[in-house]
């Protein structure tokens, strides 16, 4: 019998002492086994798939490769605004979402052209933030600008918007200078079914949206259409009088999004869209020379993006993205010139069109009563085509060691007789990588960098980022981030060849000017201050961030707090004016800034409170070569003006407060207060209070909602331009939608 084998121990062991040892050992072993068994019985064995008879075929869906990085491990402060928040707060336009982001300011220039900025450094062009829509670059690097009103992103399709605050070139390339906006639209799988919505409101606001889609084993797809119509500001001031403002828009957007699932590890996304419409431009704000018509812009954009996603294993996946975006704008209008101007154009050695003499008069602009004016057509047409290719590989060595690396290439082609006197090509290529390492549960280290070469400067740049996150109890993180970034000037800034060609010139006495191209040199009001031909260098930023993110679970609520302190040094900033009558760009401003930002949410059952605040202390100074006036003296006023251009939208205090409250019977009320105090240039402030009441109808087969929103402007003083006026402090909007 096996359990009597102890009787057959070899004689040499069978001593009394040895027996005692053996017995003692056996007892100890038995004791241990007993204790272990008892413990094992107390503690249920860990989940073992083999123990399950019925659920064992449930696949693991949310694998490590599919999970997003938790905020405690993110190398920097990021604000996430969800699509539901946007809709619940009754936000009417995409660009208004960014008022919820600490440190961000939204305002308007020109003919109701929205400008979104993080920490200012903007006057017209939005040069220093990267904007992506589903990984496709939306920031138009060739003209260093954004066109928010024609962005192909219906509010209904926004899943979430992630704003990485601070330089992020290490991940997104050289345009992610001050921050990165990443708009993520809803996956086509998540919009299966039909959705229709409609809203109408003040200032001729009208929005209609419809989408239809399906989700299947092999294909998820969505077709959508959106119409956006808006009247812009109510009036402008001309000669002290209120005058109509031609600054609305009427945009139509069609899109198709699909995902072809070839197998569980391989899929191909296809996204394509067409944008068509008109952006009204007021002749007092836009256009050159003396427009007789409003220089409205005809918009004909399209894009197509395809992305292949492949997971080779649970720990390794990559994507390969190819996209083409085309922006085609037609801007054609009539102009008038006086006889003196025509003579100046004929006499190339004389004064320029807008040049002023010692008395402040512009001789070429002189007109005599009853003279026959030159009438002609000009255009500001351009077509901007971008080809983008990106490969990104993610390798998870372990749960605590992750490497994201990749390469990208971009070709921008800009065709415009007016702005480029033909066509221009820009090329950018880059390699990037980020290693995330969590040696202990309380520490995450991130080291990333981006090497990029740009044909606009024919140089290459390296932008590093280092971050250390100290994680306490998985709910709190203290981050220390150091980053450097560059922004290269765009083709237009670097190599302006602007010239407006007169066509259809009439009457016959001016026929000799048919086809005459009016360049900056022909039109400049201060030719001696032009910086044409000067080569621009890259802008540089060095940024330090200390931030804290924490979550506090309360008895019936959860409180989240993120505080970011920053100190940035920006050098060789490009400032100056880009106009036909003036071109004064140069790497001539330095900016030192510091401040802090707070973002906090408190969620109770049925109640969501959110607050954001940004404080900015910005010091901007002119550092370029002395600007001389006509007499050769240093023009300090012009130097201050150039430095001041970058502070137009720098705001000392800004923030938002919002509450979303569920009420009985499927009612929901929300309110948001947005403010931006002390625009550094005007000392004025933006303050608005929104209130929205919504009623949902949750039926077994459909969900519908009707809502009413009031926007109340508390402050009537203009922030940037005295022409941006609305008649009524209160703006009203109604909306209705159904999903089935």
């Amino acid at each position: 019998m096996p359990d009597t084998n102890c009787m057959f121990y070899p004689p040499r062991l069978a001593t009394r002492q040895t027996r005692l040892v053996v017995i003692g050992g056996l007892l100890s072993t038995l004791g241990l086994i007993t204790t272990f068994s008892a413990n094992a019985a107390d503690a249920e064995p860990a989940f073992d798939r083999a123990l399950f008879a019925y659920d064992s075929d449930i696949p693991e869906v949310l694998t490590t490769t599919r999970l997003r990085q938790p905020k405690t491990r993110v190398p920097g402060s990021t604000t996430v605004i969800t699509g539901d928040q946007i809709r619940d707060l009754g936000i009417v336009n995409l660009y208004e979402v960014f008022r919820l982001v600490p440190g961000m300011v939204v305002n308007f220039v020109g003919s109701h052209q929205p400008v979104v900025t993080y920490h200012g450094t903007v006057h017209y062009e939005q040069r220093r933030m990267q904007v992506l829509v589903d990984g496709r670059t939306a920031h138009r690097a060739t003209l260093s600008d954004m066109d928010w009103e024609t962005m192909p992103v219906p509010l209904e399709l926004i899943e979430r918007i992630e704003v990485a605050r601070g330089p992020n070139s290490a991940a997104y390339g050289i345009n992610a200078f001050l921050g990165t906006i990443n708009i993520i639209t809803r996956d086509p799988e998540d919009t299966a079914g039909t959705e229709l919505s409609f809203s109408h409101g003040s200032r001729d606001h009208l929005r209609a949206f419809g989408s239809v889609g399906g989700a299947g084993r092999d294909l998820d797809w969505r077709l959508s259409y959106e119409k956006r119509k808006f009247g812009g500001f109510d009036y402008q001031i001309k000669g002290g009088e209120e005058a109509p403002f031609n600054d609305g828009h009427n945009i139509n957007f069609f899109s198709y999004d699909g995902r072809f699932k070839l197998n569980p590890d391989l899929n191909i996304e296809l996204m394509t869209g067409v944008i068509d419409g008109v952006k009204n431009q007021d002749r007092g704000k836009s256009g050159v020379l003396e427009p007789v018509d409003h220089p409205d812009i005809d918009v004909r954009d399209y894009y197509i993006k395809s992305q292949l996603n492949y997971s080779t294993s649970e720990h390794h996946f990559f994507h390969f993205l190819v996209s083409v975006s085309n922006f085609k704008r037609q801007e054609r209008y009539g102009v008038e010139l006086g006889g003196a101007a025509a003579d100046c154009l004929r006499n190339t050695g004389g004064p320029t069109l807008y040049e002023e003499d010692a008395s402040g008069d512009a001789p070429c602009q002189a007109r005599t009563e009853g003279e026959t004016l030159l009438e002609a057509q000009i255009n500001g047409d351009y077509e901007d085509t971008r080809l983008e290719v990106e490969f990104q590989d993610t390798l998870l060595f372990t749960d605590n060691l992750k490497l994201v690396s990749g390469a990208g290439f971009r070709k921008d082609t800009l065709r415009s007789e007016t702005y480029f006197n033909g066509r221009v090509h820009d090329y950018k290529s880059r390699f990037f990588g980020n290693l995330e390492y969590t040696p202990w549960s309380w520490l995450t280290l991130n080291a990333g960098g981006n090497w990029e070469r740009s044909s606009t400067t024919d140089e290459d740049y390296f932008s590093p980022r280092l971050a250390t996150n100290f994680i306490i109890n998985q709910h709190h993180a203290l981050r220390f981030v150091y980053s450097e970034a560059v922004r290269t000037p765009d083709s237009f800034e670097q190599n302006p060849r602007t010239g407006f060609t007169l066509t259809n010139v009439r009457p016959a006495q001016y026929a000799d000017l048919e086809g005459r191209r009016i360049t900056i040199e022909d039109a400049a009001h201060s030719p001696f201050q032009l910086t044409l031909g000067e080569e621009l260098e890259e802008e540089r930023i060095t940024s330090h961030e200390i931030s804290y993110f924490g979550q506090f679970p309360l008895e019936t609520a959860i409180l989240s707090v993120e505080v970011r302190g920053f100190k940035d040094e920006m050098r060789d900033m490009v400032s100056g004016v880009i106009q036909l009558v003036n071109w004064t760009l140069g790497n001539n401003v330095a900016v030192d800034q510091k401040g802090f930002e707070v973002e906090t949410t408190l969620e109770f059952p049925g109640t969501a409170l959110r607050a954001s605040y940004g404080y900015l202390d910005q010091d901007t100074r002119y550092t370029g070569p002395p600007i001389l006036d006509e007499s050769g003296n240093v023009d300090t006023r012009e130097q201050d003006y150039q430095a001041g251009l970058l502070t137009r939208m720098s705001v000392r205090h800004s923030g938002s407060l919002s509450v979303i409250q569920e009420l009985p019977s499927e009612f929901k009320v929300s309110s948001a207060f947005y403010w931006a105090d002390e625009f550094l240039r005007t000392n004025n402030q933006f303050e608005r209070l929104d209130l929205r009441l919504a009623k949902s109808f949750l039926q077994p087969n459909y969900t519908a909602e009707v809502a009413f929103t009031v926007q109340h402007y508390l402050n009537r003083e203009h922030e940037l331009s005295s022409d941006n006026n609305i008649e009524d402090h209160n703006q009203f909007f109604i909306e209705a939608g159904v999903r089935f």
Partner: protein, 314 residues
């Protein structure tokens, strides 16, 4: 005889004298040990693990044996433990008069057998009471107050009782009916717009391997979570699920066998007495949801149930 031989024989005799009655006694006990049959789940690891746990709880007076192909009529009063719905169904079909306690079966499944009217049939439910799962969600998301439930058309009325219970715990629930398979995702989307989390159920038309990927990915993209419906779904990506540990099911099963021996009938089918919570910490971290410790979640759920006068979910 030599004195040595006498001594040896004496020792043998004493040994025989002492050992024989003990062996006989043991043999007699073995013969009188009551046989309890079990029907396999089809998963041998599970069978072995679970029957060992039941044996431990029953003690040496019971012996667990696999159910023979043909059960002699004389042994039809021996209790049979079936593991899983297939095992129960097969046993019931083959021997409708057998004494059966079903384990690893859902309440919904057992409802078909009207166990209250047949004292020889009972069950220990494997599914977790939905109220307990809903409160698991509430403990994880204390700010939650809306529970979305996906239901197939045939089960659309199965949650009325739960929806009536929820307000006592500061929750409200709504059922979103999936009328056909093409309507699954549109319905999930509407459910996610309403609820702070989706409460998984044992509705197999919805929660099966083909669908779970769509449900979990859609919910995850919307930063919403799924609770349950079982531990296997936590592995798949649900944030949490309460579950009855095997020891708890085995203990209750043993109680039923003992009760039957005393009373010749079973208590009504019931849920096990204690539950634990399984959490998917990776998913929680990724969604920035601070998770309490596992024991705290189950204790907090027990506390909620205990403190509420309407807390009985058994």
């Amino acid at each position: 005889m030599k004195p040595g031989k006498i001594g040896f024989l004496s020792v043998v005799m004493v040994a025989v004298f002492l050992i024989w009655p003990m062996t006989t006694l043991a043999q007699s006990k073995s013969e009188t040990a009551q046989t309890v049959y079990f029907v396999s789940s089809g998963n041998l690891t599970l069978d072995k693990y679970f029957t060992d746990l039941v044996s431990e709880n029953l003690g040496p007076e019971f012996k667990l044996k696999p159910l023979p192909k043909r059960l002699p009529p004389a042994k039809r009063n021996h209790p049979i433990i079936t593991m899983g719905p297939k095992a129960f169904e097969r046993t019931y079909r083959n021997t409708p008069d057998a004494v059966v306690v079903g384990t690893f079966v859902d309440r919904e499944f057992m409802d078909k057998y009207a166990t209250e009217q047949n004292p020889h049939i009972s069950a220990i439910y494997y599914d977790v009471p939905l109220l307990r799962q809903a409160l698991t969600g509430k403990v994880i998301l204390p700010q939650a107050d809306k529970v979305a439930i996906l239901a197939s058309y045939v089960n659309r009325d199965s949650y009325d009782e739960l929806i009536e219970q929820l307000p006592a715990y500061g929750l409200e629930g709504k059922v979103f009916v999936v009328t056909d398979k093409d309507q699954l995702i549109p319905t999930v989307i509407r459910a996610l717009s309403y609820g702070d989390f989706i409460l998984g159920t044992s509705d197999h038309d919805i929660y099966h391997p083909r669908n779970i990927k769509h449900i979990l990915l859609t919910a995850y993209r919307r930063n919403k979570i799924l609770i349950g419906p079982s531990q296997a779904f936590v592995k798949a990506g649900a944030i949490a699920s309460s579950y009855a540990p095997f020891s708890s099911i085995a203990e209750k099963t043993a109680q039923y066998i003992l009760y039957y021996r005393e009373n010749a009938n079973f208590p009504a089918a019931a849920y096990p007495d204690s539950y634990k919570v399984d959490l998917n910490e990776q998913v929680a971290r990724s969604l920035n949801i601070p998770l309490p410790e596992r024991p705290h979640v189950s204790e907090a759920v027990n506390e909620l149930l205990k403190n509420n006068s309407r807390g009985s979910i058994q």
